[in-house]
């Protein structure tokens, strides 16, 4: 019988993320740890280097607006059809944060290389893009296996972040967490040195020995802290539990157009201060 893993609070998870940490975080989709983002902002973490795997949305805009991020690496930050990300836009236009532009599959491939313990990985496409011209950490070599030489191909360095975190549907008392089809969360956990997880529900049993759930489970071997946080992804979605609150996001985008509006949003939503009407 494996040892049971103690639950932490979301504030304890946030406290494990030091200033200057190198994070890699999944895109805003089912399983975004918004409650943990709020706790990080309350804790005042600074100078983070964040790789969004492969794109950012609300959690990127919140951390940027709150001044937590020094460098962002991503293939895009937006709210899709709901609108553009105002704090991201302003921070890049003013130079307040450093940006390393990428393209989605290059980030996935780099995290997969991290998972495999190899220093880099080749990837097709990208040649001719200015994304490549501005990335002095990406290289182009000729395919060593090409008959007759030639066949240039891009190499990207592996990504092994200090920490990744996300919100999962279930966690069990042994520290295993179930992410289902969100397999990139498992890839991230395998590549990261530490993985922190907030979970929607507690699972009464061992996820690693349940034949129907084990393929969607991440072993506690990779996980250094779990907090039970119902509704931990809201106002974003958690598939099977709740949908994205589109009105909340539209209102956020409108309010966060200005620094003052963003501060008022944080005050109300993150710091929980009552605001006079």
């Amino acid at each position: 019988m494996p040892a049971t893993a103690p639950m932490m609070s979301v504030e304890e998870l946030a406290a494990r993320i030091p200033d200057g940490a190198h994070l890699a975080l999944s895109k805003d989709d089912s399983g975004t740890a918004i409650a943990l983002i709020h706790a990080m902002i309350r804790g005042g973490v600074k100078n983070l280097h964040v790789v969004y795997v492969p794109v950012g949305g609300l959690m990127a805009d919140l951390l940027i607006g709150a001044g937590c991020i020094a460098t962002i690496e991503c293939s895009g930050v937006s709210f899709g059809e709901l609108g553009l990300a105002p704090r991201f836009r302003d921070a890049v236009q003013s130079g307040a944060i450093r940006i390393k532009d990428a393209t989605c599959p290059a980030i996935y491939a780099a995290v997969q290389a991290g998972e495999r313990g190899i220093p880099f990985t080749p990837i097709r496409g990208i040649l001719g893009s200015d994304v490549l011209s501005y990335r002095d950490d990406w290289k182009v070599v000729d395919n060593p296996f090409a008959a007759g030489g030639g066949d240039p191909i891009v190499l990207v360095p592996a990504i092994n972040p200090d920490i990744t975190f996300f919100h999962a549907r279930w966690g069990d008392r042994y520290g295993n967490v179930w992410v289902g089809k969100r397999r990139e969360l498992a890839t991230l956990a395998h590549a990261a040195r530490e993985t922190l997880v907030t979970v929607e529900d507690l699972y009464d049993g061992n996820l690693m020995t349940d034949e129907t759930l084990v393929a969607g489970t991440i072993s506690s071997l990779y996980i250094s802290g779990v907090a039970h946080v119902p509704h931990g992804a809201k106002p974003l979605n958690l598939d099977g539990c709740y949908d994205i609150d589109r009105k909340h996001i539209r209102d956020y985008i409108r309010e966060a157009q200005t620094v003052e509006g963003f501060a008022a949003y944080l005050d109300r939503t993150v710091f929980g201060n009552k605001v006079a009407a």
């Binding site: 999944s26 895109k27 989709d29 089912s30 795997v53 492969p54 794109v55 991503c74 293939s75 895009g76 930050v77 937006s78 899709g80 059809e81 553009l84 990300a85 991201f88 836009r89 890049v92 236009q93 003013s94 130079g95 450093r98 940006i99 532009d101 990428a102 393209t103 989605c104 599959p105 290059a106 996935y108 491939a109 997969q112 990837i123 097709r124 496409g125 990208i126 040649l127 001719g128 893009s129 200015d130 994304v131 490549l132 501005y134 030639g150 066949d151 240039p152 191909i153 089809k181 397999r183 990139e184 969360l185 498992a186 890839t187 598939d239 949908d243 994205i244 609150d245 589109r246 009105k247």
Partner: protein, 248 residues
Amino acid sequence: MAFSREEQLICVIARMLEGQRNISVGTNSPIPAAAALLMERLTDGWARPLLLGSSRHYPANDGGVEFHDRAAQGRVDVFFLGGGQIDGEGNINLVGIGAYPKMKVRLPGSFGSAFLYLTVPRVILFREEHSARVLVPKVDFISAAGWSPPGVFRRGGPYALITSMAVFFYDKDRHRFRLDYVHAGNSVDDVRANTGFDFDLASPVRETPPPEPDRLALIRGEIAAELAHLYPKFAAEKLGYTAAAANV
């Protein structure tokens, strides 16, 4: 039968999807998504749409990387790209306007374009705004290149460019667009006046055919209902789909 601009564009795109099977659509693309769902319906499920951002229309379960790995293998037949700027050689810019990195106008970013433009055989460029601001002589930042020199692995690239005014096809050998259709109410001169790059003319340039009535009926019915799962606001406002409009 009267039709809207959006309905017209859905039908224009659908005609370019005939015979295409694995039709993938990026985020924030309700019109291409509607065209893909229409083709699935018209082919009784032979055509397989994959809508990024959807859990309902996403036939993949091995993480975000699976879609890109499929494209790398040549298993994605069609994809759609747009651009804050698109130039006459088919280069697209999704990063911003001005000098990189502190740009005058920062856009979201390149997403998968730098990779998908080279690995997907048929990429349809779709941008509703037809103006000299968008269709420029040369993009400020190449998110993805319209063509590649000999010796570079490239499975595909730009196939056509569809806007609210016109349809251009791309000549892969000459790296240039050719104007083939103008939508009703626009002339070749209108297109020229609103296009910042030089382009060729088909002979003749035709008027875009109106939506097929049977397809229009499907779009307003079944397709709108299906699309509303991912794009409730678009389905409600542009296709008149009013059920389940609570969370738009």
